[in-house]
């Protein structure tokens, strides 16, 4: 059982984590954050293995991984 957190206000919406997640658990939010970006959002914790791929590719280091 694992999960991640995303700091939405610091996310710039590049979407690289969405591509990195082997389980497709990350989606881009429809909402804008204060900087005008659509931030990434963690959809469900059920299947997360804590592989950390999202953390590895995140250029803004706004993801934390819990395992």
């Amino acid at each position: 059982m694992s999960r991640i957190t995303i700091d939405k206000e610091k996310c710039k919406g590049c979407g690289l984590c969405v591509l990195a997640c082997p389980k497709n658990l990350i989606v881009m939010s429809d909402e804008f954050n204060k900087k005008g970006y659509h931030p990434a959002s963690f959809s469900s914790g059920e299947d997360c293995t804590g592989c950390g791929f999202c953390f590895q590719v995140c250029p803004d280091v706004v993801i934390e991984v819990f395992k």
Binding site: G15, L16, C51, Q56, P59, D60, E64
Partner: protein, 245 residues
């Protein structure tokens, strides 16, 4: 549940000014993690370049100085010769390292300065708005090669690791890419090794990191990663170019 991956001490909790999808942030993290894992945060002095990473001192939580455009290896030499027991590294872009700073790069390497160079190659001048870099690929359009880089006018993209490999003072050269999780983990390993070479007092080490610039390439972040894989890696092959450590 335990937090297993997070920002380590050497990276400040600041929003970096890079564009969405830019590779600099990942490379900053890899350097910071390396420094924390080696336990050298309090004896490290970093040198930021002129280029997109000019504000690196705002992001790293250890001593960092500015240097004039292209001069970081000379500044590093000055620091390291006076404080040989500190860890000194430069963080430079392609314009800084192998256009205006070519002389400083080659001579610091040739002297075998016991420093580490993190060389970010994204084939373009980012901060000034997307001009040709010394590593810009043939045919690549930039704001100063509007018809694509033509070797007859602008010469060929420089392979820095191969260029430096013949110099006697150079100990370790490796080229990596921050494209996907696997390559990023490899990049971290190379950066850590480069710092270890310095800690072992074995001479000049440089890691060339192929990185993306979605904004100046006119691509979205995903396309930019594909651009590295399809266009940069074939010209700048990954791997260890020299290791006499």
């Amino acid at each position: 549940m335990k937090k297993i991956l997070f920002k380590t001490e050497a990276l400040k909790d600041t929003v970096m000014s890079y564009c969405p999808g830019c590779g600099h942030g990942v490379i900053h993290r890899l350097v910071a993690e390396t420094i924390d894992e080696l336990g050298i945060r309090e004896k490290t002095i970093g040198i930021a370049p002129v280029g997109c990473a000019v504000f690196a001192y705002d992001y790293w939580n250890f001593d960092v100085t500015e240097a004039a455009h292209g001069r970081p290896p000379a500044v590093a030499t000055g620091i390291k010769r006076v404080l040989p027991d500190r860890v000194v590294f430069t963080y430079q872009g392609d314009g800084d390292l192998i256009a205006i700073g070519t002389a400083e790069t080659i001579h610091a390497a040739n002297r075998g300065e016991n420093i580490t160079v993190i060389f970010v190659n994204n084939c373009v001048y980012g901060m000034t708005g997307g001009q040709m870099a010394p590593t810009t690929l043939i045919g690549q359009k930039t704001t100063t090669t509007p018809f694509g880089r033509d070797e007859k006018i602008a010469g060929y993209p420089i392979r820095v690791c191969e260029l430096l490999s013949s110099l006697g003072g150079v100990t370790y050269l490796e080229r990596v890419a921050v494209t996907d999780a696997k390559n990023i983990i490899k990049a971290k390993r190379a950066i850590k090794k480069a710092f270890q070479v310095q800690l072992d007092k074995k001479g000049f080490s440089l890691v060339e990191v192929l990185s993306s610039c979605p904004t100046d390439w006119g691509l979205n972040p995903q396309e930019a990663i594909e651009y590295i894989e399809k266009n940069m890696i074939p010209y700048f092959p990954l791997g260890v170019v020299k290791d006499k450590s």
